[in-house]
């Protein structure tokens, strides 16, 4: 019987294993140490690694993100936890102006091997300010890498790679998935960046997504199979680097693409992929690329409005039927 663990424990294992392997790695953030993590992701880590490597910070995102970047400039490898990516907005200057530009501005002298990680995305009735999907905002910036794991296996393998990466990595987790269980092997593994994962093969339409909505895409594909539509589902895994090759290979087979991206549609990873696929597959497409995003409104509180605002299986099914001219 293979081992099943929660998403939060997969993250914990990735960090703990990398901290055992490399003394330069440390974790800092709000409530990561004595409280055992606001969402229990870092539980037990203070006991194992002590307060010099598992560091509780004050509520001071701009300060501690900047401090972590300064430490990374000397070659340490900080893991900087944002309780929510929504709170990273007050640290916009350090995470956007310093981390991804340091190598360039210093002419190759100082890199920034840092991982920023935390919860991204709505779904918990937290209202507009706590429900950010930062993919659209931050993927615009060259110099950073962006990773969005879709299940516990992905979370562990991708986080280990992120910690070993020499560039700044924005690692977008999902609070809604922290308790999800999935198969995670006991033995060590890493998942490389820039290699999308075909999680379900199909012939009629390609569904591409990242993070939590990958699961909705699978759900939609199962539903659509009953209607006779065969969907190929791709977990993009990383937005920067973007694995266009795998996407294009699939689109050349299915001739249709629906991108599911939980950020807002305007200037988003979804619109970028649509643009790149239209250029690369102009003669292969039987319809324009369809997109399912969060509706173009601030996140509402009411549960029914919030669920409708986010990409969900029903909205994905509608987009696929439209893309396949099955209305």
């Amino acid at each position: 019987m293979s081992r099943q663990i929660e998403y939060r424990d997969a993250l914990n294992e990735a960090m703990s294993e990398e901290m055992r392997r490399d003394q330069r790695v440390f974790l800092l953030g709000e409530e990561v140490a004595q409280y055992n993590g606001a969402y229990k992701v870092s539980r037990g880590m203070l006991d194992e690694f002590g307060p010099k490597r598992i560091i509780d910070t004050p509520i001071s995102e701009s300060g501690f993100a900047g401090m972590a970047i300064g430490a990374a400039m000397r070659g340490l490898r900080p893991i900087c936890e944002f309780m929510s990516w929504s709170f990273s907005l007050v640290a916009a200057d350090p995470i956007l102006n310093n981390a991804p530009k340091m190598l360039y501005m210093s002419g190759g002298q100082f890199g920034c091997p840092i991982v920023f990680r935390g919860n991204d995305g709505a779904g918990g009735q937290l209202g507009s300010t706590h429900s950010w999907c930062v993919e659209g905002l931050f993927s615009n910036v060259p110099g950073l890498k962006m990773v969005i794991p879709s299940n516990p296996y992905e979370a562990k393998g991708l986080l280990k790679t992120a910690i070993r990466d020499d560039d700044p990595v924005f690692f977008l987790e999902s609070e809604r998935m922290l308790g999800d269980k999935g198969e995670v092997p006991e033995e060590e593994y890493l998942i490389p960046f820039g290699k999308a994962n075909v999680v379900r093969e199909g012939t009629d339409c390609t569904l591409l997504s990242w993070g939590r909505p990958v699961n909705f895409a699978v759900e939609a594909a199962e539903e659509l199979a009953k209607e006779g539509l065969s969907c190929e589902v791709i977990d993009g895994r990383t937005i920067r680097p973007l694995d266009l090759e795998t996407i294009v290979r699939s689109v050349k087979k299915t001739n249709r693409l629906v991108v599911i991206d939980q950020s807002w549609s305007f200037g988003s990873p979804g619109s970028e992929v649509a643009s790149q696929v239209h250029a690369a597959c102009f003669d292969d497409l039987d319809n324009h690329v369809h997109r399912v995003h969060s509706h173009d409104v601030p996140a509402p509180y009411a549960a029914n409005l919030e669920q409708e605002m986010l990409p969900n299986a029903r909205r994905i099914c509608e987009a696929v039927r439209s893309c396949c001219y099955v209305a």
Partner: protein, 363 residues
């Protein structure tokens, strides 16, 4: 809260040491004069902020530290780079936008970096370097204590302007430094103006900036920054204490910039009388006077030192003029360490390849 008094240490130093400080201040002054000329001749673009008048601060502070103590500053950064030992030609070539520049022409005037001399920039957003300074100090302490298993043994110098004390990042950095016992000294180069705004118009407790330190439980001192000997005398025991105790410090370094905030500043917010009053306190003239009256150094000897610096800077300008612009292949280099997609990885600037002090350790 202790406020240290300044002992007279520099007075006991041999004349050669003081002449070395004079040489460094001459170098910065001459470098900045030629920078202004080159800017006016449109050889240098963008924003450019010169250090004339404040030379004693960088030279005195650097003298009070070791060359592997990290240093980070804001965009008025030429003086710090030169005081730390960057060859002027690499700084000038940077401003000329040449591949041979310290940052391969990708940073410009505001972004002098020098890994061989623990110079961590050159940062453009007011106050942004203060959390970085805390982080450099966090890192040296972590390296010494967690990785090395010993005692923290480095001090980070984090320079900022008086305008930066009103940024949130500064207060967050001070709180973190106080909370985590970080060996960093925040040095406010208090020249009285954040661009065109006099300090009283933008800053509470402007008469006593130490209040900002006391609020965070951080030791603070005030230093007369127009006198390099006074800068050294104030900084040396403060740096030693920081190294010993691994506790942060804060310095209200009182200084004055003789020129505008940047090259485009007509200085209408201050009077000619005020400028004249400070120019009479020129840190270079002051040290020349000490050397002449107390050390019997002849004017001609100092002139020959100045002439030598002029020659070095003249050659730096020639080097910058003649150096090639970066090839277009540099556009996609240094974005990511590992090559992928259109990005072609990273490489070090010529400056480090030619520096015997650089062992690759800082990266």
């Amino acid at each position: 809260m202790t406020t240290l008094s300044h002992p007279a240490i520099a007075e006991s130093f041999p004349t050669e040491t003081l002449l070395g400080w004079l040489r460094d201040m001459y170098l910065i002054r001459e470098f900045e004069i030629r920078t202004m000329q080159a800017y006016q001749n449109k050889k240098i673009g963008g924003f450019c902020h010169v250090y004339i008048g404040q030379e004693a601060v960088a030279v005195g502070c650097v003298a009070a530290t070791r060359n592997n103590d990290p240093l980070v500053t804001a965009y008025r950064d030429h003086g710090h780079g030169l005081a730390r030992g960057m060859a002027p030609k690499y700084g000038m070539a940077e401003m000329f936008g040449k591949l041979a520049g310290c940052a391969k022409g990708k940073g410009g005037s505001m972004h002098f970096f020098d890994a061989a001399n623990a110079m961590y920039g050159g940062h453009g957003i007011v106050g942004a370097q203060t959390p970085l300074g805390a982080g450099l100090a966090f890192a040296t302490k972590y390296e010494d204590e967690v990785i090395g298993g010993g005692k923290s043994d480095k001090v980070t110098l984090c320079f900022l302007g008086d305008g930066a004390v009103n940024q949130g990042a500064f207060h967050e950095a001070m709180n973190l430094a106080g909370l985590f016992d970080l060996p960093v000294i925040f040095i406010v180069e208090n020249n009285g103006y954040s661009m065109g705004t006099a300090i009283e118009r933008g800053t509470t407790m402007a008469h006593d900036l130490g209040a900002k330190a006391r609020a965070n439980g951080i030791d603070h001192i005030t230093i007369q920054g127009m006198d390099v000997m006074s800068v050294y005398d104030g900084m040396k025991p403060f740096v030693d204490q920081c190294r010993e105790n691994s506790r942060p410090g804060f310095v209200d370094m009182q200084t004055y910039r003789f020129k505008g905030h940047s090259m485009s500043d007509p200085r209408k917010y201050r009077t000619k009388d005020e400028e004249a009053q400070y120019e009479a306190q020129d840190p270079i003239g002051r040290l020349e006077q000490v050397l002449k009256t107390q050390r019997d150094v002849a004017d001609a000897d100092m002139e020959s030192i100045y002439d030598a610096q002029k020659k070095i800077v003249r050659e730096a300008v020639e080097f910058a003029e003649n150096a090639p612009a970066p090839g277009l292949d540099e556009l996609y280099k240094d974005v990511y360490v590992e090559p992928f997609g259109p990005w072609t990885g990273t490489s070090l600037p010529e400056m480090l390849a030619n520096d015997p002090n650089y062992n690759g350790g800082a990266r």
